[in-house]
Every structure is written in structure tokens, then in C-alpha cells.
Amino acid sequence: MSATSSELKRRIVDAIRRHPSPARRVVLLNTIWLVLAIVVVDVGLFCALGGPSRGTGSMAYLLFTEAGWAIIACVAVWIAFGRGRSMLGRPRRWLFAIAVVLPFALFGWMLLAATVFPPTLTAESRHGCTAMTLALAIWPTTLYALVRPESVPLSPGMTGAARAAAIGACVGVLTRWWCPGGKLIHLALSHALPLLVLSGFGWLLGQRLGRVYRRPSGQN
């Protein structure tokens, strides 16, 4: 039986037909709804936990940090969830940058903000920032991986880690708004470090759900 034999082809086509796979447009719409639902729930949780806090720092400092954090988060999402022009995904070093270097980049931004706005170094911080970041980020990371499973032929673990870190960065915008404190040690340990924890969690998810593995053929 060769690759071009009609029997092999028929067998494979029959196996394909036993596994429904929606077309691109349907998946795109479903993904948009999923993301919107996640955003609504997370914002709802954020409000339920107290919502934005003005804090004791200046409004300019808050806007400066939020804007920078949001821009970095958007870039992280674009890199982590996009594949560029290749079905093999982003280069591994890009994913590594998001998964591991991103938290340091965000802390670097906070450091820059502290340099620009020195009085904010003593601005009051809140307790529970780590828990909030993890709580708002872990469930959408898991849900996305379960609802939109993708076989990532290269670096599934690193892809999962980058995506989790990117989601954490987005959630960090809310956390930052909830806790606009300026103490650097607090920012490092409670705002930036949780993203590394998320990266580790995302790596495990990616390895488990994202790798290419043998699927049941569905033959009787």
C-alpha cells in the first residue's frame, strides 16, 4: 500500500471526518467571545476586591506606570499569542524573553518611574497584590489552554510560559491600579515576581496540553 493508494487515502479521509474541526472564522469568533468574557469577569473581580485606588502617590506617576505597563503587556500578548508568518510559532528566544525577561522589564519600568517621580518611593502599598495577580491570571490562562488547545510542534512549554506571563502582565495593569504603591521591594516581590510564577505554571500547561501527541483515531 503506497501513499498514493486510494485505500490508504480513503482510510485517512474517513478518520478525519470522524473528528469535527471548526473552520477559522468560527474559531475566531469563539475566541473573541472567550476573551471578552474573561475581561468582563476579571474586571468584575477587580471591582469586587476594591477596585482602583488613588493611593498617596501623584496621578502623573500612576498614569506613567500604568501606560508603560499596558504597552509592555500589549507587546507581550502580541508576541506570545501570535505566530508571526510561521506555523512553527515565534522563535524560542522571543518566547523566553516574554516568559522570563518580561517581569524584569516591568520592574525596570517601575524603577524608571521611581526615578522620574522620586516622592512616590514612599507611596503606600496594599497587601495581597501577589494573590490578586495570581487569582486573576491563573484561571483565564487555564481556561484558554483548555478551550483553545493547540498543538505547538516546537517549544510548547515555552509557548505556554510566555502566554501565561503575557496574561499576567495584562492582569498586572489592574493590580497596579489596585495598588499604586511606590516601594521598589514591594513592586519587585508582589507585582513583578508573580509573573515568573505564572510563567512556570504556563510552562506546565503548555507541556501538558500544547505538545503534539498521538490522538485517538476514532476507528471502531
Partner: protein, 179 residues
């Protein structure tokens, strides 16, 4: 592929005709068993079907397809290693003749010990040993698979043998029989 990703179901058969021959050749080079290769071909195409919604317009198809196939080949090799015990001829080669009624039990115990020792072995030696002894590849084929010279492969297989012999047959008498 673009048409298939957009929902044109009839495009799959055209896609099959375009990529299946090359893909099967790619897989056969790695598994050297036609039924297994055909099964992996089916698995690869199934993966492509399930991931069609994520296809990027204008992206190259074959590198993606080969990457999926390669991982499935690796997955199949791992399963084969855990599911299929080492052949009896290998057992005999390493242990010499076993006496009478306990032969089967001792052979099974020996297989378990061999599997354990292989797991502890340095990866380079283990891969060389398994390709040549377990999968039955010739020295040349195994060397090509590992992208090393035949001489280097022989050294690794020899070291793996010595490691197994030393671990499984610590007494000199049994070691001599095994050699």
C-alpha cells in the same frame, strides 16, 4: 491549506494528494516500518485537520507538517520503548543460557533490570544502544539517525554494553559468558 482552513472540506483531498507522498517518505526514513509510517501519516494529517483554524494565511505548510510528524515519530518511539520489551535474542546475548524452569521468570527479571539500567545510562549511550540493538538499525543507519560517525556509534554502543554487563553481571564468570 488556506481553503481548507477557511472551511472548504473538499480541499482536504487535494491537500492530501499534495503532501502525503513527501510526508510518508519523511516518516519512513525515521521509522523504517511501513504500517507504522502509514499510521503516523494518518496521525499527522489528523493533527493538521484539528489545527486548521490556526493556519496563518501565506505560511509555509511543509515545515509545519514535518515538525508535527517528527514529534509524532518521537512519541511513537517512546511508546515503543516503554511498551515493547527487549527481544529474547538480546537477553540471551547478555545473560548467556539460563537453566530450566526458571528461565522465563529470570528473563523477565532481567528485562526489568536492563530497562532500569538503560534509564540510568547517559542519554548518548542509551540512544546509540537502543537504535542499534533494540530497533535493529544497522550501524550506518543508526549513525545517520544520530548524526555521528560509525566509529563514534560503535564506541557508544560498546560503552553501553559494558555498562549493562557491569551492572547486571558483576561476577567475572557471568561477564565472560555474556561477552
Amino acid at each position: 491549506m488556506e481553503r481548507y482552513a477557511a472551511g472548504d472540506e473538499a480541499a482536504f483531498e487535494e491537500l492530501y494528494d499534495l503532501i502525503a507522498p513527501r510526508l510518508l517518505g519523511f516518516i519512513i526514513q525515521r521509522v523504517r516500518d511501513l504500517p507504522t509510517a502509514q499510521d503516523l501519516l494518518q496521525q499527522t494529517l489528523l493533527q493538521i485537520h484539528l489545527a486548521r483554524s490556526s493556519f496563518i494565511t501565506g505560511a509555509e505548510v511543509m515545515p509545519w507538517v514535518f515538525a508535527i510528524a517528527r514529534h509524532l515519530v518521537i512519541d511513537a518511539a517512546r511508546c515503543h520503548r516503554s511498551c515493547v520489551p527487549i527481544g529474547a535474542d538480546l537477553i540471551n546475548e547478555l545473560s548467556g543460557s539460563l537453566d530450566g524452569a526458571d528461565q522465563i521468570v529470570e528473563a523477565h527479571e532481567l528485562v526489568e533490570r536492563i530497562e532500569g539500567e538503560l534509564a540510568r545510562m547517559p542519554p548518548q549511550q542509551r540512544r546509540a544502544f537502543e537504535l542499534h540493538k533494540r530497533h535493529g538499525l544497522s550501524l550506518v543507519a543508526a549513525a545517520q539517525t544520530l548524526q555521528i560517525s560509525v566509529g563514534a556509534l560503535k564506541v557508544r554502543v560498546h560503552r553501553a554494553r559494558r555498562t549493562l554487563e557491569a551492572a547486571l553481571f558483576p561476577s567475572e564468570e557471568l561477564s565472560k559468558e555474556a561477552v
